[in-house]
């Protein structure tokens, strides 16, 4: 094992792998990624794979728009087919409150240059002919939103990073982090110690455990979210369909399988990633209501993953005091996959040029010191 690294990234999910690639691209040598299991074995490989730009805070909108721009060129840049597909996002409104919120969102999103519209139920049928519009008061639609395959995107970044000299240590667990005078000096793993002067915490649902190795108490908690997938069927719908009201999202993969997912907002924080019968029962009821044609399609698999949730549903990015060389990319609250490509570039700028972008400053852990948080309400 290499006993020294310029940057040690903890976590081989989308954020860790995208950052490894961006660092290598900027010419950083001796980057190392440490992963407890295998690549995308945690939250990344369990996520819905969507990328959307329809958010309710300016920062999330900008971040997501810039990420989609990167996603759209990723297959070419990384020479890997990631199943990137701009099928759009259709977000259904079932209450007058939702319509009012969506009007506000669309106004803000359009001001920021996003091609998004609030549409009538009838127009929804043009986009998804099998949609049941009973109770639907309207929807927002952005056709440049879409999805990609989270395993493939992670593999794509990792493969290219490896070719550029990044070292990946799989099946390797971090057990301690050494520091001296508020500087990190080494990372200890079950396979040995690595001397380094920059450590990145990209440990997804387990991020707070990594921080706690240095006595830090970051406000990120894991929550179980569950998904199921059906057998592959002919094309039924293109966009990701979301309802905040019903706490559900569904999309059809390129191979034809239909994903449906939701989290239980009343479930307490835990590391549980077992599938539950309650979920499958409820999500099938909701799914059939939204899209009756699903009724005779068979469910083949269910699974669960962790959302790493912060108090304002926005990530914590950048160094966490008192350590200016312990960088966090954590707490994406269920949206790490779609933001990762752009976040990796911002973090690279900080590591390479010591440049703290406005985005990183906005996502600094310091924001939790004041109470006036800009909470993104568009979370499902």
């Amino acid at each position: 094992m290499n006993k020294k690294a310029s940057v040690v990234i903890i976590g081989g999910g989308i954020n860790g792998c995208a950052l490894a690639y961006e660092l290598a691209k900027k010419g950083v040598k001796d980057v190392m990624v440490i992963e407890k299991n295998f690549l995308a074995s945690g939250s990344t490989g369990r996520c819905g794979g969507g990328f959307r730009q329809q958010w309710s805070t300016p920062m999330n909108i900008k971040f997501a728009m810039e990420s989609v721009d990167i996603f759209s060129r990723l297959d070419e840049e990384l020479q890997y087919k990631t199943e990137y597909y701009q099928g759009g996002y259709l977000i259904l409104a079932y209450t007058p409150e939702e319509i009012r919120q969506f009007e506000k969102n669309v106004r803000l999103q359009r001001e920021m240059g996003l091609d998004v519209r609030l549409i009538e139920p009838k127009e929804c049928l043009k986009i998804v002919p099998d949609l049941n519009i009973d109770g639907v008061l309207g929807a927002t639609y952005c056709k440049s939103d879409g999805h990609a395959n989270p395993f493939y995107v992670t593999q794509a970044y990792a493969k290219k990073a490896k070719e550029m000299g990044v070292q990946f240590l799989l099946d390797t667990e971090v057990i301690a982090i050494d520091s001296h005078n508020d500087r990190i000096t080494a990372v200890q793993t079950d396979k040995g110690k690595i001397m380094t002067d920059t450590v990145v915490n990209a440990a997804g649902g387990h991020a707070h455990l990594v921080s706690s190795m240095l006595g830090l108490d970051i406000p990120v908690k894991p929550y179980r979210h569950e998904i199921l997938v059906t057998e592959p069927v002919n094309r039924i719908f293109d966009p990701m369909i979301i309802s905040f009201h019903y706490h559900i999202y569904m999309r059809q993969e390129l191979n034809g399988g239909i994903l449906m997912g939701q989290g239980d907002p009343n479930e307490p924080s835990s590391f549980n990633v077992e599938g539950s019968f309650d979920f499958i029962n409820q999500v099938c009821k909701k799914g059939m209501k939204i899209m009756p044609v699903l009724e005779n399609i068979s469910v083949v698999r269910q699974w669960a993953g962790l959302y790493a949730v912060t108090p304002d549903a926005q990530p914590i990015l950048g160094p966490v005091p008192p350590f200016d060389n312990f960088i966090h990319i954590v707490g994406f609250s269920g949206h790490g996959f779609m933001l990762a490509p752009r976040v990796a570039q911002h973090i690279t700028d900080y590591i390479v040029d010591n440049k703290l972008s406005d985005e990183i400053k906005n996502c600094s852990i310091d924001r939790f010191k004041n109470m006036d948080l800009d909470v993104d309400v568009n979370v499902v």
Binding site: F38, F151, T230, F277, G287, S298
Partner: protein, 93 residues
């Protein structure tokens, strides 16, 4: 028969050549990883046919004892069940 004519995963049309490619070119070492990258075991039968075959191939190609290999995760449902069937369950029944 050639490796690319031997079907290992019937649901996703995976051949022995694909499994060997995953092991030797992509460096994957477990059924779980191969499943995610190649989709084998994600189809209708959920790996009931190919899971053990893939374990055997990995064991042979990488010289790992079959007994030492972690079994692939099995997930519900045990067999494919329709959305309608799952939705019809009411608590208390």
């Amino acid at each position: 028969m050639k490796d690319d004519q031997i079907i290992i995963c019937r649901c996703e049309d995976g051949t022995l050549a694909d499994v060997k490619d995953a092991i030797h070119r992509l460096g994957l070492r477990s059924v779980e990883e191969i499943k995610r990258v190649k989709r084998f075991g994600m189809g209708h039968c959920q790996g009931k046919t190919c899971g053990k075959l893939i374990s055997q191939i990995i064991s042979r190609e990488l010289n790992i004892s079959y007994e030492d290999m972690a079994p692939a995760t099995t997930r519900q449902p045990a067999k494919a069940v329709s959305v309608k069937e799952f939705a019809s369950y009411q608590e208390g029944n």
